[in-house]
């Protein structure tokens, strides 16, 4: 990656506390996935995978296509329910997470193929991210009067901050279906940020982007992590990005974990090299 992100990454490394045994930064464990197995009919998407995510770190999940990365994110935020294993989030251990519980407990996410509300404007999309923060009931909402109005204004302010942060002021009134792909990804990040998450799951935030867009996105991810202290788990195929951004990397292949450690360790791991390049049998 270019100098901008490199400097940021280096600076962050200097600021961070003494590295923990497994490398990287991060405090206590926020989320722990233990022995999770998931299958669809006869297809085993994930087989007995365990790993953890620590507070404040950027955790990358990598692996070849079909390795089970997206399935893993879907298990974490409750879209899929694993047949075996547990997910421990903020001290509570569960077999199956539910999307509503995940969202209300501070897990936000973006999707591989951008899942935005296409007919709605950028502003409305990001406002939708604040659904759980808004409390006024159906009665006041019907009239959009009194408390509901005050609330609307207050949350709008928060949303404008996010819009400024992501530098998308110019597109706030445009229906997102009309925006170019790179900007859609940015709006989707904005919607996730509007939830003020503690754990942010990003599924290929830079897929299909050109170099410049990738640099912008990398900068946003680092800023979110730095300034807001948000813990981030991301899936990414661009190895340069992964190596620059992440504190620790977990590698999946055919649903199994084949490596877990700092970017440097993982890069040297023979299993990882084999998985990516293929190996003669």
């Amino acid at each position: 990656m270019n100098g901008d992100t490199m400097t940021a990454a280096r600076q962050r490394a200097e600021n961070s506390a003494a590295p923990s045994p497994a490398g990287g930064r991060g405090g206590e464990v926020v989320l722990e996935v233990k022995n999770v197995s998931l299958s669809f009919g006869g297809v085993k998407a994930i087989r007995g995978v365990s790993f953890d995510i620590r507070k404040g770190e950027i955790r990358a999940i990598i692996g070849p296509n079909g390795a089970g990365k997206t399935s893993m994110l879907n298990v974490i935020n409750g879209f899929y329910h694993p047949q075996e294993g547990t997910i421990t989030y903020k001290g509570a251990t569960r077999r199956r997470m539910r999307p509503y519980v995940a969202a209300s407990q501070g897990i936000a996410r973006t999707f591989q193929n951008v899942a935005l509300f296409k007919g709605m404007t950028t502003l409305d999309n990001i406002m939708a991210g604040r659904t759980l923060k808004m409390k006024r009931g159906f009665f006041w909402q019907m009239f959009r009067y009194g408390p509901a109005m005050t609330e609307e204004v207050e949350h709008r302010k928060k949303v404008e901050e996010i819009i400024d942060f992501l530098e998308i002021q110019a597109i706030r009134k445009i229906p997102v279906g009309k925006l170019p792909y790179g900007l859609q990804k940015r709006v989707e990040l904005g919607r996730a940020l509007a939830m003020e998450p503690e754990l942010l799951l990003l599924d290929e935030p830079m897929a299909g982007m050109n170099l410049e867009e990738k640099e912008d996105m990398s900068r946003f991810i680092l800023d979110v992590n730095d300034q807001l202290g948000t813990t981030i788990a991301l899936i990414e195929h661009d190895m340069g990005v992964v190596m620059d951004l992440s504190d620790r990397v977990v590698v999946l292949d055919y649903g199994q974990k084949i490596a877990d450690g700092t970017p440097e360790d993982v890069q040297k791991n023979q299993d990882v090299i084999d998985a990516y390049l293929g190996v003669a049998h």
Binding site: A115, R144, A148, E152, R191
Partner: protein, 320 residues
């Protein structure tokens, strides 16, 4: 000239009422992807609950506006209960099933409601409690200078109930549009319509949204039932007006609220104009009889050939 104005006015009123029915379909189709065959019977059931409850109250000696509005409150509560029951016992168990299965489930719901309505309130037609609800009756002659034949003044007859229906329906549609556009729940409704997956990820509860949508459709059904009931009477035959909503939906697009309104107006006015101009031309042939009953479907058919997504619907382009 005055005949033309009269015809357009009648078409406009019918159109607004068609739009109300179509709106009920669109609300549910957008949020839960179900074509709700039961929308027509919901109109009858809501109106029947209102009138039936009033009759039962009247039998106890409780009459007048107070009783009418009590019955109205009961009807609203019943529509809410219906929304909860539908969500719990129809939508939730059938989530992720193919659309056709949900569609068939609404057929079941239709017959369930017909049965329930007949058992509780009886099958005979009832008269809408127009006066008790403070709805106007009677009519006004509107004199339009120079609009009559040979330069005489033209006369247009305006039924008061039609004026009230047009106003109430317009206010209702405007309020719904506002609610959808500017409130948290409205945004959540639109969000669910666009993407279930993304809506779930930001913590929107699909179950809650479904209840709200079906309840809103129930309220729209109640208002529609009152208006249609006041023009004819409340009977199970009224549910066939829901079939008139089909051409409206094809014209306006299944997913568009403005489409439902404009589609309703076009069909309403088109029908009446057809009756006025087309019927005399076709007189003598079999087609000439009852232009009003087939013209809407003919227009819809033409639209299906040339613009299947309707005037405002989303064009579906799939990458293959």
């Amino acid at each position: 000239m005055d005949l033309l104005i009269q015809t357009i006015w009648e078409g406009l009123v019918a159109g607004v009422l068609y739009a109300l029915i179509a709106l009920g379909f669109v609300l549910i189709f957008k949020a839960s992807g179900v074509f709700n065959f039961a929308q027509g019977i919901m109109v009858v059931f809501a109106a029947l609950t209102l009138v039936g409850t009033y009759e039962k109250l009247a039998a106890q000696g409780f009459t007048g506006p107070a009783a009418a509005f009590t019955a109205m409150a009961v009807a609203i509560v019943v529509m809410y209960a219906l929304a909860m029951v539908v969500e719990r016992f129809v939508l939730r168990p059938l989530v992720n099933q193919p659309d056709i299965i949900l569609f068939m489930a609404t057929f079941g719901l239709t017959y369930l409601l017909i049965g329930a309505g007949e058992v509780i309130f009886g099958g005979e037609p009832k008269v809408m409690i127009t006066k008790e609800l403070f709805l106007p009756t009677g009519s006004t002659d509107l004199r339009i200078p120079g609009a009559g034949p040979n330069g005489r003044d033209g006369l247009v007859l305006l039924q008061h109930i039609d004026i009230a229906a047009a106003i109430i329906a317009s206010v209702m549609i405007a309020a719904l549009a506002f609610f959808f556009q500017y409130t948290r729940i409205g945004r959540a409704l639109r969000a669910v319509a666009d993407s279930h997956k993304a809506a779930l990820s930001v913590g929107i509860s699909l179950n809650q949204i479904w209840v709200i949508v079906w309840f809103t459709a129930g309220i729209v059904a109640l208002i529609t039932g009152i208006m249609w009931g006041a023009r004819s009477d409340v009977s199970f035959g009224l549910q066939t007006i829901a079939l008139k909503a089909l051409p409206v939906l094809i014209l306006g697009g299944f997913t568009s609220v403005p489409g439902a309104i404009i589609g309703g107006l076009i069909i309403g006015i088109g029908e009446k104009l057809g009756e006025l101009y087309l019927a005399p031309m076709l007189l003598g042939s079999t087609l000439g009889r009852g232009v009003e009953s087939w013209l809407a479907y003919f227009i819809a058919l033409a639209f299906l050939l040339f613009r299947p997504q309707g005037l405002f619907g989303e064009k579906i382009i799939e990458r293959i």
